[in-house]
Amino acid sequence: MTCTETQILLHALLDGELDAGHARDVEAHIAACLGCASQLRQYRALHDVMSVVDLGFTAPLSLRRRVDAALPSGRPAPAPSRRLVLRGFAMGSMASAAAAATVMFAIVRSDQDQRMFSEVISAHLRSLQAEHLTDVETSDQHTVKPWFNGKIDVAPPVVDLTAQGFTLLGGRLDYIDGAGVAAIVYRRRRHVINLFVAPGAGAEDRGAKIEPVQGFNIRRWTEQGLNFWAVSDINAGELQEFGQKFEAALRPGSGS
């Protein structure tokens, strides 16, 4: 791969848009080329700063009202109708029985994980709605971590990822599935990331898994006997990046 190609493709690399093969090629070139390596560092710094600083605009209230008044008012959306499923049964055909069986299977299969996911989403939404995002508001990881002492029966790891593009906002005590958990709050641009940490009760380390739930992304993993759920409305690629950087920062010898 030439420098000219790399100069273009390194942008796709840092935007997470390269497939594995091209990413390897670009990384191989960068490992061997000081000039391109320096380029990537600088553009990554630019990208990270733009991710941390809020560059968006908030629509003025007057505009919000204008748009609201200009649109026809709608009736509130109906809840996903159970009648539709029942109508399916009423048709009585083999197909509807098969469809119903599929639905049942999906429901039965929605196990512990799914229930926890919706609990996690609820906690995330609560934190955004109640203006109660943080109990302890500080970007200093050494303040957030001790704050949890004695409040819950885990000592959650808290790392500052500001340099990596994720600003630490603080910590909060939250409840998931009836148990107290630590919520560590990060921000990327105007998106909030809630990282919930709960004791895993002897759980084995489990690799990360990202799932979209109700328009949010959840990254779930287990490490050092703790269960982690990172939830946010940022895209899956960035949430993955967040999780990887968090895990990397926890590893001994990472220097942070």
Binding site: T4, E17, L63, I234
Partner: protein, 206 residues
């Protein structure tokens, strides 16, 4: 899930990516409520793009309102899943119409300038790095907004859609109506110009 759809009467419907279990379906008579539920939460995003595309707050207000009205009129052509790029495409059309109305001559100049840049500006040759210049200091939001606003239109649009509005290359390509490869090269150019302006702002050599 699709088994449930099969028994529905052939009505106009909008399929939404709402819950993990599958999709929810609504009939046309709830279109207004649906449109509101989907599109109004994106008002800040649409407004942000309008501010960057048009530059002035008053123009952005008008463009956003027009965008929402148009979007609602054409809501039956929306087939998901992502509503944000769809709204952005409409907004972009509104803004382009606004530019055309303001001054066709100025628009032509603007494009001519951009093309010259694309042809002649080297991407990388002029860069002489030292470790000292490799780090960009964190500028405040107002300064960065100003630097982005100063970029030529097509590069500003690319970087705003990517870095501020969070779109993927594919989505940007669809909104702007160019191939993904063009998105990539415009982004490369946009970041090149932005970095040069950034360093100038800090008094560093380019």
């Amino acid at each position: 899930m699709s088994g449930v759809d099969r028994y529905r009467p052939p009505m106009r419907k909008v399929t939404l990516p709402m819950n993990a279990g599958g999709t929810q379906t609504y009939e046309g008579h709830d279109a207004a409520a649906q449109f509101r539920a989907l599109a109004l939460p994106l008002l800040d995003d649409v407004y942000t793009l309008a501010r960057y595309l048009l530059g002035s707050a008053a123009d952005a207000d008008d463009a956003v309102q027009e965008c929402y009205l148009r979007a609602f009129r054409h809501f039956d052509t929306y087939h998901g899943p992502a509503i944000k790029p769809w709204l952005f495409t409409i907004l972009r059309n509104v803004c382009n119409a606004e530019f055309a109305r303001r001054s066709k001559a100025r628009l032509r100049n603007r494009e001519a300038d951009a093309e010259t840049l694309e042809d002649t500006t080297p991407l990388w040759q002029e860069i002489r790095d030292t470790p000292e210049t490799a780090l960009l200091r964190e500028l405040d939001a107002t300064t960065i907004r100003g630097l982005v606003a100063a970029l030529p239109a097509q590069f500003r649009e690319a970087i705003v859609l990517r870095e501020i509005n969070d779109l993927s290359y594919r989505e940007i390509a669809d909104v702007v109506g160019v191939p993904v490869g063009t998105v990539m090269s415009r982004l490369a150019r946009a970041r090149f110009m932005l970095r040069a302006a950034w360093k100038a702002e800090e008094g560093l050599p380019a």
